[in-house]
């Protein structure tokens, strides 16, 4: 299978999944944002972001593998993520805490050379 076929298939499925909910845009389930169904979808989307973030930061490791292979750099990642969350929740400003955390992480990468 050529790369072009894979790109076309990916583009078509991405488009279809992105478009699908708009076919039901007038249904009560998607217009009543306080309804259980909409909240379920909305919270599931947030939870999905949490899963993506864990997978990206810790390489999709399961809990036991993470504990077995836990390193200083993993502890730092956790600390920076929680710290960034608290800082943004308090200040409502994203960029300062984002750049500070990123800088600390880069310095740690250079120093620790994991």
């Amino acid at each position: 299978m050529t790369i072009w076929l894979l790109i076309t298939f990916s583009a078509l499925t991405a488009f279809a999944f992105r478009a699908l909910p708009f076919a039901f845009k007038n249904s009560a389930a998607l217009t009543q944002t306080q309804g259980s169904f909409y909240r379920f979808i909305s919270y599931s989307a947030q939870a999905m972001l949490g899963v993506i973030i864990y997978d990206t930061a810790f390489g999709k490791r399961d809990a036991l593998t993470l504990i077995e292979q836990f390193q200083v750099i993993d502890a730092l990642k956790l600390f920076l993520l929680v710290g960034t969350f608290i800082a943004v929740a308090k200040t409502k400003k994203i960029l300062p805490s984002f750049f500070l955390s990123l800088s600390i992480y880069l310095v740690a990468l250079i120093v620790l050379d994991p």
Binding site: T13, F17, R39, V88
Partner: protein, 239 residues
């Protein structure tokens, strides 16, 4: 859905600018991510057209990384592609009530902009204000999309010259930091924030149960659980 605050209602042009300004915050991570996509595309022997097509037509970083690094695996990738793309249903469904009054043509033309980052940026804003939601969505999404296309091009042209282990190591925390910062903006919407962190904590645990389909199944378990808790709480403590 929150209503637009008419007392401080601003014009569509200003809302577009507001979106573009917020795009600066979100765009930083995209610069690194799409430079990397360009670099890896060049090192994996893709053509410039193929590298750009992945960004222009798919615009999904995990899927693009998967494609450009594993395209030799061929049809085996198809179910994984479907699974990775299925997550867009959740994002679109959550945005639907806010932009459903926009013409179908406009929505179809801008669907590629629906990504987790742009979604989170929009939702953060729509929780506060809902005037000109589609304009904000475009104002936020277009610059990020444009920067991503340009960075794919630059990364591809620069090729291995820009590649460094430090950049790739830094990338593992770029997106997590960005999303976590955006989750912080949701505070004090406890249900949303709890869903985010439960997804984070649940990922290494529920992977035992759902294996390769964890990304698809875990969010629904958590979303359902939070709604149940919220509904029970509302029954006990009527508004």
């Amino acid at each position: 859905m929150p209503t637009a605050d008419s007392s401080v209602r601003i014009s569509a042009g200003n809302v577009f600018k507001e979106g573009a300004r917020d795009a600066i915050t979100l765009g930083v991570a995209f610069i690194f991510l799409y430079l990397s996509i360009g670099i890896i595309s060049a090192t994996q022997s893709l053509s410039l057209g193929q590298a750009l097509a992945t960004t222009l037509l798919i615009f999904s970083t995990p899927l693009q990384f998967l494609l450009i690094q594993n395209y030799n695996d061929g049809w085996i990738l198809l179910p994984i592609i479907v699974a990775l793309n299925a997550r867009f249903v959740l994002l679109s469904a959550t945005l639907t009530p806010y932009i459903r009054n926009t013409s179908t043509l406009k929505i179809m033309a801008s669907l590629v902009l629906i990504t987790p980052s742009i979604f989170t940026g929009c939702l953060t804003r729509f929780k506060r204000r809902t005037d000109h939601p589609y304009t904000y969505f475009i104002g936020l999404g277009l610059p990020i999309f444009g920067v991503s296309v340009i960075c794919t091009y630059i990364g591809f042209i620069a090729g291995a010259g820009l590649a460094s282990p430090l950049i790739f190591a830094a990338m593992t925390l770029l997106l997590p930091l960005q999303f976590t910062a955006l989750a912080g903006k949701h505070w004090p919407h406890y249900a949303e924030v709890s869903s985010y962190w439960m997804g984070f904590i649940g990922a290494p645990l529920l992977v035992y149960l759902f294996k390769d389909y964890s990304l698809l199944c875990t969010p629904f378990i958590i979303g359902g659980l939070i709604v149940l808790i919220e509904n029970n709480y509302k029954k006990r403590v009527p508004a």
